[in-house]
Symmetry: C2
Subunit: 159 residues, 2 copies
């Protein structure tokens, strides 16, 4: 659980960045940001819609998707997750990376100075200018591994 105070700071900071870019701070945008900033699970668009609707019952799908794109373009949220699944979102703008479980799609944060300070290979500098890095470690999470253990034993042969 993220402390309320911290959530509100993140929301305020994000809106301030938006305002500086001439983007209005509407009720809907605020609530979408608040929802994201208060979550550690990197929710998808539909989940955000469902949750924000509890507070803003008339909010539309268009607004959700349009706002998520806007906030992403403004640099206050990020789009994460691998291509096999739907897009997931993240309001944590601290430099960090993700571990993704390929079984249940759980997404967890991790921090790594070594990875952040990674030198861009010359090979890449010749292709263009690098402006961002996306790192994703993929595997099986604790929970899914345990589930696999339990299911074991009753696999394979027929009676």
């Amino acid at each position: 659980m993220i402390p309320k105070q911290q959530v509100e700071k993140r929301v305020a900071d994000s809106l301030e960045i938006c305002r500086r870019q001439g983007v209005k701070a509407t009720h809907q945008r605020t609530e979408i940001l608040r929802e994201l900033a208060g979550s550690e699970e990197h929710p998808d668009a539909e989940t955000i819609l469902t949750r924000v609707r509890q507070r803003v019952p008339t909010i539309s799908v268009d607004t959700i998707y349009r706002t998520l794109r806007l906030l992403e373009d403004s640099g206050v949220i990020a789009r994460v997750g691998s291509m096999r699944d739907r897009a997931r979102f993240d309001a944590n703008t601290d430099r960090h990376h993700h571990f993704v479980c390929t079984e249940c799609e759980m997404i967890g944060d991790f921090y790594s100075d070594a990875m952040d300070q990674f030198p861009v290979p010359q090979e890449v500098s010749e292709m263009g200018s690098v402006e961002g890095v996306y790192v994703e470690l993929r595997g099986i999470c604790r929970k899914c591994k345990q589930k696999a253990m339990k299911t074991e034993g009753r696999t394979g042969e027929k009676p």
Copy 2:
């Protein structure tokens, strides 16, 4: 341009791996693999469909998507690209990473021992077991930067 010999080796190797998993080496699968192995541009499903159709005119969308999923699950091709765009595919199974232009979606390969040998943070080991890494450097490619230069000057004010 990738030498034909090299393309054929990759196709043969991939099919061999599939066969070992009990997956038949059909005409369609062979052609899809050949198309991917011969390309350096990481094409999307539609592009692959169009190109393979020139050689196998009756091939269906279902076969394209089904086969791409199958080959990915078999580990002989990879899905690349960022969430904002459609899925792109890669038959290059050598350990490597990608630079993606956020303007034109060009995807280029790069190699980095340092990145490959990156130690998994303990933070992550506690979340689960890591089985793969996906690294993507994002920015603006040479071509797009030049285009932006040319367009400059005629921006901003009205007459």
